[in-house]
């Protein structure tokens, strides 16, 4: 089966680089899975869990935002913050929720909707881990 090159980079370092069979991505417009020969897409991420599947191995990362660039042969995830799921505890998520809650304050209109959505996504993350 054809694989695609998966890269996970944060501004500070390259977190992962591997061949993967499929990648499940929490896109801001909905989750989707990218496999080899996927149509080129650039999409933003919502806070959620990113799954990288290679054979029988599943590696999971918690991402908080950023974007992903997919071409037929590669998927590059540019995340502002990304951690292996095993390293993420409820405390970390609670901190993220607190930050998102603080961000909602004082906003109005469309911006508030965006921040609200982010908060809801972050809260959903608590169940996911």
């Amino acid at each position: 089966m054809a694989t695609l090159q998966f890269d996970l980079v944060s501004p500070e370092r390259k977190l992962a680089s591997a061949e993967a069979d499929e990648i499940q991505i929490p896109g801001s417009e909905g989750d989707f899975t990218a496999m080899a020969d996927h149509a080129p897409v650039i999409t933003t991420l919502r806070p959620g869990v990113l799954r990288v599947i290679t054979g029988n191995d599943v590696t999971e990362y918690v991402v908080t935002g950023g974007f992903v660039e997919i071409s037929g042969t590669s998927a590059s995830v540019l995340a502002e913050q990304a951690m292996p799921k095993s390293e993420v505890s409820a405390d970390v998520v609670n901190e993220m929720i607190a930050a998102a809650e603080a961000a909602v304050q004082g906003l109005e209109g469309a911006e508030k909707d965006m921040a609200d959505k982010r908060l809801a996504d972050t809260k959903a993350l608590l169940d996911a881990i």
Binding site: V9, K14, S28, V41, I42, T44
Partner: protein
């Protein structure tokens, strides 16, 4: 002619100076490696971000309703200079070369009748620019407590700049920093932040991407991040440059101290010899007189 005791104290003092500069050089060498690794590690993200932004920006640059961060405020009157320097001195011409470049740029703008505002990052640049442009300084970012520059630091600087831009405080923002070429060469660089400019990748044909959500939303979402990334890259380059500059400055200082010790030692020995000869002559002529 200084007396023997003075010479001896002098030699001792230069020797301890040499010890310090030598130690500083070693510390910088270690820090430089770390800073270089950090700069290296940040590159994939910055490159990707730049490529995507160049792609997006190219498409929407001329279009109606392009984001202001990209298109500019339509004016060119007020310039914001972000001057990024080190928190410490003793690193050769590192700080002065940035300050010099920023000063020249500011003077040129003022001569052209523009308003200049300065935001300094790092204490040394502030000190150097305060005398000439003290009344134009709008803010200062202190990184002296920061051990390792993180994306958070860059992000807070960038958001501050963006917030000021959105508040209409300025039209054009430029960041000044030293680009790291090698240990002996750091190039002062000016990079325009707002309106944002992204270098297009070297002729590489990019596939036609589908954007989700729309191109405009992505652009609006990514622009502030791209700015933070640019600031982050600049800070990382600056960090590596600072250590490189300090390393070569301290290397020079160590060598100069060594030369000085040699010279002083020769002088000391000569004086000692002269003193002994003098004493002998005194004794001999004293004996002859008897």
């Amino acid at each position: 002619m200084p007396n023997l005791k003075d010479l001896k104290t002098r030699i001792e003092s230069v020797t301890s100076t040499r010890k310090i500069t030598k130690a500083m050089q070693m510390v910088s060498a270690a820090k430089l490696r770390r800073a270089q690794e950090a700069a290296e590690a940040g590159r994939p993200y910055a490159d990707r971000m730049n490529a995507v932004m160049a792609n997006l920006a190219g498409a929407s640059a001329g279009a109606e309703g392009a984001p202001k961060l990209l298109a500019g405020s339509g004016d060119d009157k007020v310039h914001m200079l972000v001057v990024a320097t080190a928190e410490r001195g003793l690193c050769g011409g590192f700080n002065s070369s940035i300050a010099k470049m920023a000063r020249a740029h500011a003077e040129k703008l003022i001569a052209a009748g523009k308003t200049v505002k300065i935001l300094t990052v790092g204490k040394k640049g502030r000190e150097q620019l305060k005398r000439d442009f003290g009344d134009r300084m709008v803010d200062h970012v202190d990184l002296s407590e920061v051990k390792k520059i993180g994306y958070v630091n860059a992000n807070s600087i960038a958001s501050d700049v963006v917030a000021r831009f959105n508040a209409g405080e300025f039209d054009v923002a430029t960041i000044f920093y030293n680009k790291f070429e090698s240990v002996i060469s750091q190039v002062p660089t000016a990079l325009q932040l707002i309106p944002a400019s992204f270098e297009t990748t070297d002729g590489e044909e990019s596939p036609f991407y589908e954007y989700e959500p729309g191109e405009d939303e992505i652009l609006a979402d990514l622009l502030p991040r791209a700015l933070s990334t640019q600031v982050f890259t600049a800070l990382l380059e600056n960090g590596a440059s600072e250590q490189g500059a300090r390393m070569s400055a301290m290397d020079n200082a160590t060598r100069n101290a060594g030369d000085m010790i040699d010279k002083l030692t020769i002088q000391y020995n000569r004086s000692r010899q002269a003193a002994i000869t003098n004493e002998l002559i005194e004794i001999i002529s004293g004996a002859e007189a008897l």
